[in-house]
């Protein structure tokens, strides 16, 4: 068997969720190739060759792939698909964007967000916001999969020595073009990579009050997260949303402040190792998943916590 993993990168480094997808590919078994497509991405190509368990890097450095547009990425992946039994990528907004196109163009199903591998054709995946786990079997010749970022330990970024094969993609589809990006520059760890996360909800009341959580997060080396309500109200940017339809996280410690614990929020964080909830409502559902619950007014408890760290 040969498996193709599609990498996500920032031109110079390969992102952690890609190494999680490689780990899933290892669990399936077979020869693993990594596709790095981008523009001006030699750094990422070299980094990819170091990744544990990868035997070959397919390198495509071309202007068509600079912004990973779905039409371009899917056409490229389909052009390289011959001979692979499995095509995988991480469940990120980028992977979710192009991978279903790949599956449709190959006339096969996609199995989204796998969290366990039972065999080469049988996988577990969450449904209903993680309130049920389905074991599914694919009868397609090629398995197209996205891999949940919290489900496997990433393989090491080092220790591999893959060969690099330069490839070319098809002509541009020319259906869409990139205009601009408003990417939040993080001074803190990325949500999906952090070992501690401090999250705020509607209880924070406004964006300014998130400064309290920032101070705690800085002391703990933590990332900042939020509930949908906090994002919708404009307290914080959309990329901070944790949940069924936001980011899925599983840090060592998740501190939920002023978050009620709706199922859609729990879906994104209930696999965290230790959960702390600070909420003034002792009946808030978040306490049903919290290892340590503190019933308190956050405006009193958070500064106190800050002081004791």
């Amino acid at each position: 068997m040969s498996l193709l993993v599609v990498a996500e990168h920032d031109q110079n480094t390969i992102k952690v969720p890609t190494r999680v997808a490689v780990a899933a590919a290892q669990a399936i078994g077979g020869e693993i190739h990594l596709l790095v497509a981008g523009e001006g991405c030699q750094g990422a190509i070299d980094a990819a060759a170091q990744i544990e368990g990868v035997s070959k890097v397919l390198a495509v450095d071309h202007a068509n792939y600079g912004h990973a547009l779905a039409e371009e990425m899917s056409a490229l992946i389909v052009s390289l698909a011959e001979g692979y039994t499995h095509i995988l990528t991480a469940t990120t907004t980028s992977g979710k964007n192009y991978m279903p196109r790949v599956a449709a163009l190959l006339d096969v199903a996609q199995i989204s967000d796998i969290m366990a591998v039972e065999s080469a054709d049988t996988f577990q995946r969450p449904i209903y916001a993680g309130n049920a786990i389905a074991t599914v079997q694919s009868s397609d010749a090629v398995k197209v999969l996205t891999v949940r970022g919290t489900a496997f330990d990433p393989v090491s970024a080092e220790g591999g020595s893959a060969s690099i094969e330069v490839r070319e993609g098809p002509a541009t589809a020319g259906l869409s073009s990139w205009v601009r990006e408003d990417v939040v520059v993080l001074e803190r760890p990325e949500l999906t990579a952090a070992s501690i996360i401090v999250s705020g909800g509607r209880g924070m009341q406004n964006g300014e009050n998130f400064a309290m959580l920032e101070s705690v997060a800085d002391k703990l080396g933590a990332a900042l997260g939020a509930s949908r309500a906090a994002v919708d109200a404009g307290f914080v940017p959309n990329d901070m949303q944790v949940g069924q339809t936001g980011k899925i996280v599983a840090p060592d410690l998740y501190i939920a402040v002023g978050i009620s614990g709706a199922i859609q929020h729990l879906a994104g964080m209930k696999d965290s190792k230790v959960i702390v909830a600070i909420n003034k409502d002792e009946d808030a559902p978040i306490f049903q998943v919290a290892d340590y619950g503190l019933v308190a007014d956050l405006f009193k408890a958070v500064p106190e916590l800050d002081g004791q760290l």
Binding site: R101, A109, I127, Y128, A129, V136, W178, V179, P237, K273
Partner: protein, 250 residues
């Protein structure tokens, strides 16, 4: 221009679902069913584009059992002009649904298709992208803003790092994210009016689409539960527990 929107019938987002003891699926008996929340956002966007004079007609499509008529009526009450039900009792998976929708757009030739980014039952997040691929159209997923022009649309997308803006050639498929708009509630007069709006019913076979499932569900189980934790009395106790019991902070 004509806009096509999709509406999936799903278990209401407020329902705490229960896995069946025989592991065949989740219990759908006497459970409240609704329009998938992301599809309500899609309907709302289409209706607003019509109200703004940018579109002439909004057609809503649902694929599934005969009860999907209820969700189509809801969409019609929210302002869609007519409905199409592609009726089937088959277990419809995203690829099959995308093929059905492709056949519908071949008939209807809409200039814009708006779907939800994800159905909250299967959490697949595939159908819109698959439809775009099958129809050879451009796509803009996870939209939080759509600016519609005559032959293109400029769409802001919610991505992992923040926001991205792209321009797509029409016809295109756009999938909705939560911040695109806040759907309205249907008024009573509009609910009454919706009863008179037409719904066309057809089958996948009428559309010449093979909907055989490719993926078999072997079993459905509840997730591993979390042991109940404790309540701490003070911040001091919390910090002590985190340092000395859980050992997650230093």
């Amino acid at each position: 221009m004509k806009i096509l929107v999709t509406a999936k019938r799903v278990v209401d987002y407020n329902v705490n679902i229960r896995v069946l003891a025989d592991q065949s699926g989740v219990d759908l008996n006497n459970v409240k069913m609704s329009v998938n929340p992301f599809d309500e956002i899609a309907i709302e966007e289409a209706v607003r584009l019509k109200e703004a004079g940018k579109a002439e007609e909004v057609v809503v499509v649902s694929v599934g059992a005969t009860q999907c008529q209820e969700q189509l009526r809801t969409a019609l009450a929210l302002g869609a002009d007519r409905g199409i039900l592609v009726e089937t009792d088959e277990d419809m998976q995203p690829l099959a649904i995308a093929k059905v929708l492709k056949a519908v757009i071949d008939k209807e030739s809409p200039k814009l298709v708006i779907t939800g980014k994800q159905a909250i039952d299967g959490d697949n997040s595939q159908t819109g992208q698959m439809l775009a691929a099958l129809a050879g159209l451009s796509q803009a997923t996870f939209a939080s803003e759509i600016e519609l022009e005559e032959d293109s649309a400029t769409v802001t997308r919610e991505i992992d790092g923040g926001l991205e803006t792209i321009s797509v050639t029409l016809p295109a498929v756009v999938t909705t994210d939560l911040r695109l708009n806040e759907p309205r509630y249907a008024s009573l007069p509009n609910i009454m009016k919706a009863k008179k709006k037409p719904i066309d019913v057809m089958s996948p076979a009428d559309l010449g689409v093979d909907v055989a499932p490719r993926v078999k569900t072997l079993k459905v189980e509840p997730p591993a539960g979390r042991a109940a934790g404790i309540k701490v009395e003070s911040v001091e106790e919390l910090v002590d527990k985190l340092r000395n019991e859980a050992k997650v902070i230093s």
